[in-house]
Symmetry: C2
């Protein structure tokens, strides 16, 4: 019975960080508000002071993370390097993002759950369009729209599989390189 630890106040950021870690590790459905609270060493009721409900907490995290995907893509595009290497970086970056935000990725591209889905609008489409037009530009007409789609599906397969097996990007870094090289080769040569 010692409410309010002054030196250790609860913030939205703290909640999001703890929640993100749990969501990534266990998936949306397997994380309860009580678990998050336990991680933060606060009561689960406290979280509801900062977020309306579980879905809103999750959606806030997803939005933040997808902003970082946009930044990542832009960062790579702004670099000075050969286009072929840029493609490699984009593909690897996409895989890395997918694996480091597994729960989010799942929501965007895999999950059927209507309750959660209703929170998103066209984010997946927008995300793909950004990706596709970047790749298209870097191929200088060598690749068709259909081929870029094929490329996306191949990356998607990689991410999907390792999302399911729950491994980290570092665990599969080498395999990701092989995968990306295979795709770049098929695209440009």
């Amino acid at each position: 019975m010692s409410p309010r630890k002054a030196e250790n106040e609860l913030t939205r950021g703290m909640i999001m960080d703890a929640a993100r870690e749990l969501f990534v590790k266990n998936g949306y459905q397997h994380v309860s508000m009580r678990q998050i609270a336990k991680e933060l060493q606060c009561s689960h009721g406290a979280i509801y002071y900062h977020f309306k409900n579980k879905a809103e907490l999750f959606y806030t995290i997803v939005e933040e993370d997808f902003r970082s995907l946009d930044e990542l893509l832009q960062t790579i595009l702004d670099k000075e390097m050969p286009k072929r290497e840029k493609l490699m970086e984009i593909f690897l970056g996409y895989i890395e993002f997918g694996l480091q935000h597994q729960s989010q990725y799942e929501i965007m591209f895999l999950i059927k759950d209507e309750e959660v889905r209703s929170y998103l609008h066209q984010s997946p489409n927008v995300s793909y369009e950004r990706f596709a037009s970047a790749v298209y530009g870097l191929c200088e007409g060598k690749a068709s729209i259909g081929q870029i789609w094929t490329v996306f599906l191949s990356l998607h397969g990689f991410v999907t599989h390792y999302c399911r097996s729950g491994q980290t990007y570092d665990d599969v870094k080498d395999l990701a390189m092989v995968h990306a090289r295979f795709i770049v080769k098929g695209l440009l040569d």
Copy 2:
């Protein structure tokens, strides 16, 4: 109060069929024994007479489905045709199987649940090993182990995506051809 409907006895097969459909539609965690029972128009307790628990029911389904995938692969391998075409057939066959047996495929490769996956350690690996060694043999040393894995993941991405959007194999036959050709080309040329 009318236990035991004689003319409509409950069998393991009936339970598995109903459960498979629900598992695929909603995912392991989102399907309750009560839902399955409702679908079968029996009591949920009845299922426990035929299966020890939910996980065992699920595991039994998965095992059965893996067997049918293995059979498909063997059928193709037994055919008489050039190796390049055989590769195409395997890839297209894999996609076709995935899309025409979406239920099985999703159970086998898409479900993430830890509790469940602890039940099936070998099945997916064994199934993949069959696929990989078949492809390896057909490439005559041109492909590395890593590349074959890459190929598998690319196919996986295709199937996964179109499983989600619920299209039939016929709907995406042409795209599947593009995809498979892309892969074969990267593998052999």
